[in-house]
Subunit: 200 residues, 2 copies
DNA sequence: TGGTTTATGTCAGTCATGTTGACATATTTG
DNA sequence: CAAATATGTCAACATGACTGACATAAACCA
């Protein structure tokens, strides 16, 4: 198997044609493209460690997402989970059923509206969710540290701004985040009660 | 269908037990957990627009990744692509075959070593790759702008630091990135020729 | 009250993308 | 020439997404 880390060949990249010219925009474009790639590699490694743990339980990425958001939002309804994950109820059903059957998540009929199912993690589920979160927290903590103290806010602003504009109010509400670091940029959109209306 | 954006219910989150206590670490933990969620939402939206375009062609995420790295690394060998993507040759074969059959990628037998296949995009492939890259570039450009001018470097450092330490040399080389923004943090690891040895 | 809407669950089939394992072919290398 | 290497290919399988159809219970409303 060709290891990515032991090669004795010339650099992979032929200099791109536009690169030699004194073109500032081409350099700029290159920098942005490398951000695309950084984001790809970063996300892959971000999920890598949890995936290894989940495998011990016979779970996958989908289980992690469900467990995480139920852990973070005790009493969440099925419909809310679907809205957050943006998957179909059939997709959710498969993994949720496993998590419930194996005792990681408990369901309870809604008191107000008895059609609703409210989900929360069991002690067992909380333990696994915390273990997985710990791995990602540590990685993020280290990465933020390397971005510097001032860089932490910037990194958060960057991630938030990467989210589609139409989803941002919901995400801000879900995460209890105020207006972004650069006020004015989203002015006009920030005119809502941050704690109400976006997600149930 | 419950829309994520029109609800009239109380806030989803019950305040977590640890939240009321004057615990700085719990707040810190919460902030980091919201980064986990930001990263999840950000990556999903990051790939959302390209996915919609790819669908027009009957392609998926896997096709985009292959097309992207071939576009960025003309003449790349199959083995190198496998090392970058970290998938099996069987997985690669399926999507690569489609891209070749449909004229987006061309193969050429290696001049030095005739066992090797060197891949590059065709004009048609370059056009699609550029179109997809443009979508992601614009999103990143906007997001970096919102992180502020000083935040741009921080965001890049953050993403790079999110990558597993053992992959960083290879990624730095692939992206032609020098040592990270915070010198000293990775000191000792940075002692290599940046343009050689990591990837072919 | 009774019909409609809503929240949820479930069956059945399909698709995309990853995996393992086995094996074939061409070419380079020792 | 034998062994190692780079690539390709067949077959089977797992995961996690999708669509479409239908069932049930509860709430809402005219």
């Amino acid at each position: 198997m060709t290891d990515i880390n032991q090669q004795t060949r010339p650099p992979l990249h032929a200099p791109r044609p536009s690169e030699a010219a004194a073109s500032a925009p081409a350099d700029r474009r290159d920098a942005l493209i490398s951000c695309i790639e950084l984001f790809f590699f970063a996300y892959r490694d971000f999920t890598g460690e949890p995936d290894a743990v989940l495998e011990e339980y016979g779970f996958g990425r989908a289980h992690h997402r469900v467990l995480h958001f139920v852990h973070r939002n005790p009493g969440i309804r099925v419909a809310d989970l679907l809205a957050i994950l943006k998957i179909t109820k059939q997709s959710l059903a498969r993994v949720l059923k496993q998590l419930v059957d194996e005792g990681f998540i408990a369901q309870r009929t809604g008191a107000d509206d008895r059609r609703e199912r409210h989900l929360k993690v069991t002690a067992k589920g909380a333990k696994l969710a915390s273990r997985l979160a710990e791995l990602q927290i540590r990685r993020i903590e280290t990465a933020l540290a390397k971005a510097g103290p001032a860089g932490e806010g910037a990194a958060r602003d960057f991630l938030l701004a990467m989210i589609a504009a139409e989803d941002q109010p919901a995400v801000r509400s879900l995460l209890r985040i105020g207006a972004g670091g650069n006020p004015g940029a989203t002015a006009g959109t920030t005119g809502g009660d941050p704690a109400k209306g976006q997600l149930p």
